[in-house]
C-alpha cells in the first residue's frame, strides 16, 4: 500500500473518530494539533485505525508513537 493511500484512509478514520470533517493529517500531526485527541481518545483512535487496516499495534507502539508519521510507518510495515 502506498503511503499516500494510507494517509487518505487514515484521514477518514480521524474524521470519524473525532467527528470533525475539517481534519487533514500529515506526517507531523500530533495530538496537540487536534483538539479532541487527548489521552482518553487515544485508544479509541488506535482501535479504529487497527480495524481500518486489519492490523494490531502492540502496547509499546501505542505508548511511544509521537506523530502521525510514526503511526503510518508502523502501518506501512504491517500491511506489506
Amino acid at each position: 500500500m502506498k503511503r499516500e493511500e494510507i494517509f487518505e484512509r487514515l484521514n477518514n478514520v480521524f474524521r470519524d473518530v473525532f467527528d470533525d470533517e475539517s481534519i487533514t493529517v500529515s506526517e507531523k500531526t500530533t495530538s496537540a494539533d487536534i483538539e479532541d485527541w487527548d489521552s482518553l481518545e487515544h485508544i479509541n483512535l488506535i482501535v479504529a485505525v487497527e480495524q481500518e487496516f486489519g492490523i494490531k499495534f502492540n502496547m509499546g507502539e501505542v505508548t511511544t508513537m509521537k506523530n502521525v508519521g510514526e503511526m503510518v510507518n508502523i502501518i506501512e510495515s504491517r500491511v506489506k
Binding site: 482518553l40 485508544i43 479509541n44 488506535i46 482501535v47 502496547m59
Partner: protein
C-alpha cells in the same frame, strides 16, 4: 531524610562535591553508594534490605529473561510473575490495614464477634515509588520499548536514585539511562538553575506549607470548636499546603539532580489555573498519571474484554453510549488504584480516587447541558470572569475532596463536613478569631504575600520557565532574586515547634 533538614542539605552538598571530584567513570557507582546510604540511613534492618533486594533482583532478572526468550510464551509468564511479586510486596507492606479494616467491618456487619488488630510495618522509604518504577521497567522491556540493563548495580541505581526516594517523580528507564550512567562535568548554568530551584522549593515548603499546616492542624484537631468557616478555610488551605509541600519537595529534588546534570521529568505545572478537575489532574502529579495511563489505563481500554463489552453495548445503546462505557469502566478502575496507591485506607480511596472519578464523570456528562445553557443565556465562556469562576469552582471541589485525604478516618471526614455548615462568617471580619489558631496577623500577612508570589509565578510558569528566564537577565537581577529567596526562607521559614510536628505528607507513600 527530610528534605528541609540540615542533614539533607549536608548530604546533598557532600554528594554533589564528591560527584564532581571523582573520576567521571565512577560517578554512577558513587551515586549508587550515596543512594543506598540515603535509602537505609535511618531505617536499616535485614528485613528492609531483603524487601529492597527482592524488588531489585526480580526486576533485573525479569528484564534479562524477557529479553533472552523474546517472542516465546514463557516471556508472558515471567512478566506476570515478576509484576505480581513486586506488587504483592507493595500491597503487603502498604495496604495490609486496608484488608484488615475491610474484614473487621464485614465481621461487624455479619455479627461475627472477631476483630483483627491493625499491623504497622516499617517499610523501606520510597517503596511506593520504586515498586511502580521497576514494574514500568519490566513492562517496557517486555514491550520492546527499552533494552534491559545487564549490570545489576546499574539497575540498582535506576531503582534507588536518591532524589526520587522521598516523593518521586516516577522515572522511565529509557529517559534516564544516559543521564544516570553518563559522565557529567560541572556546569555553572546547571548549578545556578538547580540552586534557585532548590531555594524556590524550600520557600514553598518552609514559608508557605509549614505555615498553612499550623492553621490546618489546629482546625482538624478540634473541628467541633473550629466549625463553619474555620473548616472551609482549613480545607482550602490544606490543598495549598499539600501542593506547596509536594511540589516544593519536587523542586528541591529536581534542583539537586539538575546540579549533577541529571534532569528529572516535571511532576507539576500550575494546577490552580485549571478550569476543570480533568485539567487539574493533567497538572498535578503528572508522572503518576502518565505511569497509570501507559501501564494500566491503555492496556485495560485496549483489552479484548473492554473492546468486546463496547461492541456488545454498541448493539444495544449505540456508538455514543458504548464509547462512554469503554472509557469510564477502565477509568473507574484506574482512579480506585490511584486511591489505593495513596495509602492503605478508605480515606485515600475516596478522596484521591472515587471522588475525582465522580467529578470527571459529571464534568464530561454535564458538559453538553452546560453548553446548551450557556448558549441560551448568551454567556461567553471565554471571558476572564467565566474562566475565574471555573478555576474557583475546580479549586473548591478539589478542596472538598481533600477533606477525606486529611481526615484520619471516613467517619471523621463526615463529621468535619457536617460541622462545616455552622454559620459563622463574622470570624472572617472580626480581626481576632482567625488569629487564635496559631498564626498571628503578621503570619497571615506573610502567608498572603507568599501566596500572591506563588500564584503570579505559577501563572508565568504556564508561559515559560521562570527560573530559566531569571537566568537570562543580568547578573545583578539574578542574584537579587536568589538572595530574596534565601533571606525570605531564613526570616519567614517556619522552624518552630509547628515545624517539627509537620511531616512531609507525601513521604509516607
Amino acid at each position: 531524610m527530610i528534605l528541609t533538614t540540615f542533614n539533607f542539605l549536608f548530604f546533598a552538598v557532600i554528594t554533589i562535591l564528591i560527584y564532581f571530584i571523582i573520576p567521571k567513570k565512577l560517578q554512577w557507582l558513587f551515586l549508587l553508594v550515596s543512594s543506598f546510604y540515603f535509602l537505609f540511613y535511618k531505617s536499616f534492618s535485614i528485613l528492609n534490605l531483603i524487601y529492597v533486594m527482592i524488588i531489585l533482583i526480580t526486576s533485573w532478572g525479569a528484564g534479562l529473561i524477557i529479553d533472552k526468550f523474546k517472542n516465546k510464551k514463557i516471556v508472558k509468564y515471567v512478566l506476570i510473575i515478576s509484576v505480581l511479586i513486586i506488587l504483592g510486596e507493595l500491597v503487603f507492606l502498604k495496604d495490609s490495614n486496608l484488608f484488615i479494616t475491610t474484614i473487621n467491618h464485614l465481621c461487624n456487619l455479619m455479627g461475627i464477634n472477631k476483630q483483627f488488630d491493625l499491623v504497622y510495618r516499617n517499610a523501606p522509604i520510597g517503596i511506593s515509588y520504586y515498586s511502580l518504577i521497576m514494574i514500568g521497567y519490566i513492562i517496557d522491556v517486555y514491550r520492546g520499548v527499552c533494552k534491559p540493563q545487564k549490570n545489576i548495580l546499574k539497575c540498582a541505581l535506576f531503582m534507588s536514585y536518591f532524589p526520587i526516594l522521598t516523593s518521586g517523580p516516577f522515572i522511565r528507564y529509557n529517559d534516564m539511562e544516559d543521564k544516570l550512567f553518563g559522565k557529567h562535568k560541572f556546569n555553572y548554568d546547571n548549578f545556578c538553575y538547580g540552586l534557585t530551584r532548590v531555594c524556590w522549593g524550600l520557600f514553598k515548603i518552609l514559608v508557605i506549607s509549614q505555615r498553612l499546616a499550623i492553621f490546618v492542624n489546629t482546625v482538624y484537631a478540634d473541628y467541633y470548636t473550629y466549625n463553619g468557616f474555620y473548616i472551609i478555610i482549613a480545607a482550602m488551605f490544606f490543598v495549598l499546603q499539600l501542593y506547596t509541600n509536594f511540589s516544593g519537595s519536587i523542586d528541591v529534588i529536581m534542583g539537586v539532580s539538575k546540579i549533577m546534570g541529571i534532569d528529572l521529568p516535571e511532576n507539576f505545572t500550575s494546577p490552580f489555573y485549571s478550569r476543570t478537575i480533568t485539567e487539574l489532574w493533567r497538572n498535578w502529579h503528572i508522572t503518576l498519571g502518565a505511569w497509570l495511563k501507559d501501564y494500566i489505563f491503555y492496556p485495560l481500554m485496549k483489552s479484548d474484554f473492554i473492546q468486546n463489552l463496547g461492541k456488545f453495548f454498541k448493539k444495544i445503546f449505540g456508538k455514543k453510549v458504548s464509547k462512554k462505557i469503554t472509557l469510564y469502566l477502565p477509568m473507574l478502575i484506574m482512579w480506585i488504584l490511584i486511591g489505593i496507591w495513596h495509602g492503605g485506607a478508605y480515606t485515600f480511596i475516596i478522596s484521591s480516587g472515587i471522588l475525582q472519578f465522580i467529578f470527571i464523570f459529571l464534568e464530561d456528562t454535564l458538559a453538553p447541558l452546560a453548553k446548551k445553557i450557556n448558549k441560551k443565556l448568551n454567556i461567553n465562556t471565554e471571558t476572564f470572569g467565566y474562566k475565574f469562576y471555573q478555576c474557583v469552582r475546580t479549586y473548591l471541589l478539589f478542596s472538598f475532596s481533600m477533606i477525606f485525604f486529611r481526615a484520619n478516618t471516613v467517619g471523621e471526614a463526615i463529621g468535619i463536613i457536617k460541622n462545616m455548615f455552622a454559620w459563622n462568617p463574622w470570624i472572617l471580619l472580626d480581626h481576632t478569631s482567625l488569629y487564635t489558631l496559631g498564626l498571628d496577623m503578621l503570619d497571615f500577612k506573610v502567608l498572603m504575600i507568599s501566596l500572591v508570589v506563588l500564584f503570579v509565578v505559577g501563572r508565568m510558569q504556564m508561559k515559560f520557565d521562570v527560573i530559566k528566564k531569571v537566568f537570562e537577565q543580568n547578573i545583578v537581577f539574578r542574584w537579587i532574586v536568589l538572595y530574596l529567596l534565601i533571606f525570605s526562607i531564613i526570616i519567614f521559614g517556619m522552624y518552630g515547634p509547628g515545624y517539627d510536628a509537620a511531616t512531609f505528607i507525601y513521604r509516607q507513600f
